[in-house]
Amino acid sequence: MLSPDATLVSAIRSGDEQAMAQLYERYSSIVYSVALRVLGETGAAEDILQEVFMQLWRNPDAFDATRGSLPGWLAVITRNRAIDSLRKRRPETDISDVVVSVEPDLAGSAELNRALEKIRGALGGMPPPQRSALEMAFFEGLTHTEIADKTGEPLGTIKTRIRAGLLTLRKAFCP
C-alpha cells in the first residue's frame, strides 16, 4: 500500500502543484534546518531549500518510495547539496543514487518529535570526541583525513569513531 508521501510524489509526477505544496508544508522545516546547520547563513539555506524542492518537482522519479523514507532522503540529499555548495564544487552524487533506509516513521510531527528525542539522546550519550568527529564529517563535510589533521588524532581512530557514532544512532531505534 502506498504511503501518503508516496501518493503525493506520485501526484507530483503528474504535475500536481498542490501535492508539491503539501510536501513543502511537511518537510520544508527539515530541509531548511539541515541546510542552515551546514551553511550557517539563512539566505544560502533558503537557496538550497528551493533547489532541493525544485529537483523533486523536476525529477520526482529520483525518489523511490518502495525503497526508502522521503524525509530521510530529503535530509540526506539536502546535506549533500549544502556541502557541495559550502565547498563550491559541482554536485557529486546523483540524487537518484541515494537510497535511505530509515527505521522510525517520520511522517507526522508527533513521530518526528519522538524520533528527535531519541536522536538527541543518542548524540548526548556519545563520547564527545566521537560525536565531534561525526558532526565534523557530516555537517562540515570534512574528510576523515581533514578531521585527523585538525584534531591531531590518528586516521584509523577517526574512521572508527565515525562508524561507531553512526551505529550508535542506529541502535537507538533498533536496540
Partner: protein
C-alpha cells in the same frame, strides 16, 4: 552483520562522500556485486538521515513558500508515466552500458537511419534487446580495453589531430564522450570537459586523462537534466579539476 569487514569503515566514509580516487572506485566496484554491502549502505544513509534530523528546528521564512510555488508555476510539466521501477545505480549500470553502447554505435555508423530502425526494433523485442546488450558490452569492452589499438583516419599526409566526440541527450542529461590523439599532460594537470549552455556559466562535465595512445572516454558523467547545450569545450585544469574554467579552451565543439 554480514558486511565485509574490510569495507565496513570505508562504507561509512563512502556514504558521507568522503572517499576519493581509488578508495572510492574500490568501494563502488565492490557494491556492484555485494548485496549485503548495498543493504548496509542504505542503512548507513538512514543513520546519516537521523544525524541530519538532529538539526531540526528552524522554519524557513514565510516568503520561501511563495518563491517555490512561483518557480513551480513557471515550470508546468506534462504528466509523465512511470514505465519502469527505478533501480539503484549498480543495476542501472547495465542500462547505462546499453545507452552508452547505442551511442557508440551511432558514432561509428554516423547516426544512419538504419541504426535508428534497429534501436526501435530492439526496444520492441526483449530477446533482441538482450542480444544487443551483450553486443554492447563487447563493444564497450573493446573501446575501453587497454589492449585495444585505436586508429583515427585522416587525409593522407595530414598529421593526427586531437579529436573529441560528445553525444548528449538533454532530456536525461546523459553524455557519452570519446577523445583521441589527445596530447599527454603533466602529472598535476587534467583535461576537463565543459557543457556550454545556451545561457549561463559552463557546467563541468567530467575530468579525463588520455591513455598512452591518447584516447579517453567519459560515459554518463553527472550532469543536470534539461540543460540545452550550445556546445562542449575542453580546458586544461589543475589535477582535481575546477568548478569553472581557469584557462582558455583548447578544443571547442562545432
Amino acid at each position: 552483520m554480514s558486511v565485509h569487514e574490510q569495507f565496513a569503515e570505508d562504507l561509512s566514509l563512502y556514504a558521507l562522500g568522503a572517499l576519493r580516487g581509488q578508495e572510492r572506485l574500490a568501494v563502488e566496484k565492490h557494491l556492484e556485486t555485494c548485496q549485503d554491502c548495498r543493504h548496509e549502505l542504505e542503512q548507513l544513509q538512514g543513520d546519516l538521515a537521523l544525524l541530519a534530523l538532529s538539526a531540526s528546528g528552524p522554519r524557513p521564512p514565510l516568503h520561501s513558500r511563495e518563491r517555490l510555488m512561483a518557480a513551480i508555476a513557471k515550470e508546468p510539466r506534462r504528466a509523465t508515466v512511470r514505465l519502469v521501477q527505478r533501480k539503484p545505480w549498480w543495476i542501472a549500470l547495465e542500462w547505462a552500458t546499453a545507452v552508452a553502447a547505442v551511442a557508440m554505435i551511432v558514432l561509428l555508423l554516423r547516426q544512419n537511419t538504419d541504426l535508428r530502425q534497429r534501436v526501435a526494433a530492439l526496444e520492441a523485442d526483449s530477446s533482441a534487446q538482450q542480444k544487443q546488450l551483450l553486443q554492447a558490452k563487447e563493444l564497450i569492452a573493446t573501446l575501453t580495453s587497454a589492449d585495444a589499438v585505436h586508429f583515427t583516419l585522416v587525409a593522407a599526409k595530414a598529421p593526427p589531430q586531437p579529436q573529441g566526440k560528445a553525444i548528449y541527450l538533454r532530456s536525461t542529461g546523459t553524455l557519452v564522450f570519446l577523445a583521441s590523439n589527445m596530447p599527454e599532460l603533466p602529472p598535476q594537470k587534467t583535461y576537463e570537459l565543459w557543457l556550454i549552455p545556451t545561457s549561463g556559466a559552463p557546467i563541468p562535465a567530467g575530468l579525463f586523462r588520455p591513455d598512452s595512445h591518447g584516447s579517453a572516454a567519459l560515459i554518463k558523467p553527472p550532469l543536470p537534466t534539461g540543460v540545452e547545450a550550445k556546445t562542449f569545450a575542453i580546458t586544461v585544469e589543475p589535477g582535481t579539476g575546477s568548478a569553472a574554467p581557469t584557462s582558455t579552451p583548447i578544443m571547442v565543439g562545432t
